[in-house]
Amino acid sequence: MSLAEGVLQLIEDAARREGFQRVTTVWLEIGQLAGVEVEAMKFCFDAVTRDSMAAGAQLEIIATPGTGWCLPCGETVELAEVYGACPRCGGYQVQVTGGKEMRVKELEVA
C-alpha cells in the first residue's frame, strides 16, 4: 500500500504549498528496474485516494528504461532486470545506473 500512500503524501504537501483543492491527473515516473508493479500501484492508488483530494484522479505512468554500467565492457548497456546479464558480454558485473526511479513528476490540479 505504502508507495501509493507516499504518492498521496507528496500530493497533499503540494496542495498545501500551492493552494489547490483537487487533483485530476498524476504523472508518475517509474523505472523499469524499480520493482513496482504498475497494475498493483494503480489499484493501491485508487484505494488510498478514495476519500482524498485525489479521489478519482487518473494515474499516468511514465516508464523509464533500465540501464547499467558493465564493468568488463566499460559501457552503458540496456538492462531488462536488476540482476540481469549484460546484453553484450553476457556477464553479471553490471551496476544499475538508471531505471530505479519512483517519482511524482507532475500533477494536473483544479
Binding site: 500500500m1 505504502s2 507516499g6 503524501q9 494536473e108
Partner: protein
C-alpha cells in the same frame, strides 16, 4: 495514525505510544517539521480553464529517506548498532533473535523492535528472554517504515553502544525499499524455502549485506542445495556475506555473533 504529521496508515499501532503525543525526548531528532523533504515546486501559469499543471519532481520515498536519515543520526549519536532483519514469514527471525540475545547475555545489551501486521506475540517472546522489546503493528501495512521506527525510538531508552535489532514484517518485497536508518539489512532465508528466492526477490538480496541461511539442521531431510542458494544470492549481490546457521541447534551462531562484533566495531 500519526495525527500531527498525517503520515502512516490509520492502523499502525506502536506499543506505549500515544498517537497524539509528539514531544520527543531529544526534540530535534523527530521534530515533525516535514520541511526536510520539500523541494520548492514551480507551477505553470493557470491556463484558460481552472485546471493547471504543478510540477513536483519528488521521489516517492523522499519522506521515508528523510526520516531514515534522522534515525541514522540518532543511532550515530549514541553509537547504537542497528540491524534490520528481513525475510519471508516464518524463516525464523524471532527464534534467531531470542538465541542471539541469550548468547550475548552479559556482554552486549540488545533491544528489539518487532514489526508484525497483528499481535504482540513476537515482542512477548523477546521480552521473555529479558531483553526490552517494543511491538509495532502495521495493520494492513506490509513493512516497517522509518517514521514508525522514529516513534518507537521515543518509547525506548537505548543505552550507548548497544545493539538494536529490528524484525521487519515477513515480506521479501516491500521492506527492501524502505530504509529504516539501519547499519545493515540482514536477510534470512530458511532451507525450507526454495534455493531460488534470491533471484525471485532480487531487490531484497541486493539490499542486504548478510544472508543468514537458517534451519540448516533440517538439511539432511531436504533436497535443498546450499551451493545453489549461495550461487543465486551471489548472482544478484556479488558482495553479500553468507552464514549457515540453525537457530534451533545453535550451529553457526558463533560466526553470526562474530559478524555482529566485527561490523559494530566499525570494520
Amino acid at each position: 495514525m500519526c495525527t500531527t504529521c498525517g503520515c502512516g496508515s490509520d492502523e499502525v499501532k506502536i506499543e506505549g505510544a500515544d498517537p497524539h503525543e509528539h514531544v520527543h525526548a531529544d526534540g530535534t531528532r523527530h521534530s515533525h517539521s516535514h520541511e526536510h523533504a520539500y523541494v520548492p515546486a514551480h507551477s505553470h501559469a493557470p491556463g484558460t480553464s481552472a485546471k493547471r499543471m504543478v510540477q513536483i519532481e519528488q521521489d516517492i520515498l523522499a519522506k521515508n529517506n528523510a526520516y531514515a536519515a534522522q534515525n541514522r543520526a540518532f543511532f550515530a549519536g549514541r553509537r547504537v548498532f542497528t540491524l534490520n532483519l528481513v525475510s519471508s514469514p516464518g524463516s525464523g527471525k524471532t527464534t534467531l533473535l531470542c538465541k542471539t540475545i541469550e548468547q550475548l547475555r552479559g556482554n552486549q545489551h540488545v533491544t528489539v523492535i518487532e514489526g508484525d501486521q497483528q499481535t504482540s506475540q513476537d515482542a512477548e517472546r523477546i521480552r521473555a528472554t529479558g531483553a526490552p522489546a517494543i511491538q509495532i503493528n502495521t495493520g494492513k501495512g506490509c513493512h516497517l517504515d522509518a517514521h514508525m521506527i522514529g516513534h518507537a525510538l521515543e518509547q525506548l531508552d537505548l543505552p550507548e553502544r548497544s545493539l538494536l535489532m529490528i524484525e521487519n514484517v515477513g515480506n521479501l518485497v516491500c521492506p527492501a525499499a524502505f530504509d529504516l536508518g539501519e547499519a545493515h539489512k540482514v536477510v534470512i532465508l530458511s532451507v525450507t524455502e526454495g534455493e531460488d528466492k534470491p533471484i525471485k526477490y532480487p531487490d531484497m538480496f541486493r539490499a542486504a549485506s548478510l544472508m543468514l541461511l537458517n534451519k540448516c539442521d533440517l538439511l539432511p531431510h531436504l533436497d535443498f542445495s546450499v551451493k545453489e542458494a549461495i550461487a543465486y544470492a551471489r548472482r544478484v549481490n556479488p558482495a553479500i556475506e553468507i552464514i549457515e546457521v540453525s537457530a534451533k541447534t545453535g550451529a553457526g551462531m558463533a560466526e553470526w555473533l562474530d559478524w555482529i562484533e566485527r561490523k559494530s566495531s566499525g570494520e
